[in-house]
Subunit: 119 residues, 2 copies
Amino acid sequence: MKINDVSKLTGLPISTLRFYERKNLIPDTFVTRDANNYRIYSEEVVEFLNDVKALLSVDFSIEELSLLVNQELNLSYEVKKKIVEQKIQEIEEVQKRLKKSKQFLYAVLEGKANFQTKC
Amino acid sequence: MKINDVSKLTGLPISTLRFYERKNLIPDTFVTRDANNYRIYSEEVVEFLNDVKALLSVDFSIEELSLLVNQELNLSYEVKKKIVEQKIQEIEEVQKRLKKSKQFLYAVLEGKANFQTKC
DNA sequence: GCTTGCTATAAACCTAAGTTTATAGTTCAT
DNA sequence: ATGAACTATAAACTTAGGTTTATAGCAAGC
């Protein structure tokens, strides 16, 4: 698969695919080069990138995620586990804040929020 | 109250308070000027800013929020209601994504995610 | 009355996450 | 065998949400 195919299958712009690679977000196992230096991707990269998309859309930064996937850093399983566990904690914090903000917005709709009366 | 007091009571840096004001995020009802052009804030600004902090931390951009609070735009209640309702929808989308990502991360921890085996 | 601290503005700077542009080599259909 | 379409890199540009810096006018304690 060439970069255009991956772009179409994942919905990620070509420029973003190249950008992610520069950021070490795409392990070498997924991409090699042909004789013309064109990127050749394995089929599995699509599922991988869909996972990456989901995680980035939520609470992971590119840098954090690249820590998990970059082989060269050679982080131990224990360290990676810590990162994932901490991220789960962070997600739970965000969930709490979302819940509160939703309630607040419902109060705004009902004219019950102080906020509303001021603006 | 002067700007330093508001900063301490809300935890927002002075530079951020001035920045938010420039972005029309702080209605004039909360801040006037004294003879030296110093900002003088009303007491209620603290609660207001705490609400603002909560909403910004979640899913509102400064621009969206300023639409709701900027008097000069004079948006009707109906329009503001639409904005709030749409934001509630968006928050629900985010909640779904968070839930999925959490499950995915648990799968990663258990070594069950394909993602994990690749990196 | 002087130094230290608070306030002001404008403009420059910063980071993350991309996107766009400029330049150049490759490939494919006609 | 040529023009349109695809690929490559490096570097400049963009946007959001601030932060820092430069410069200057008040203020408050000693």
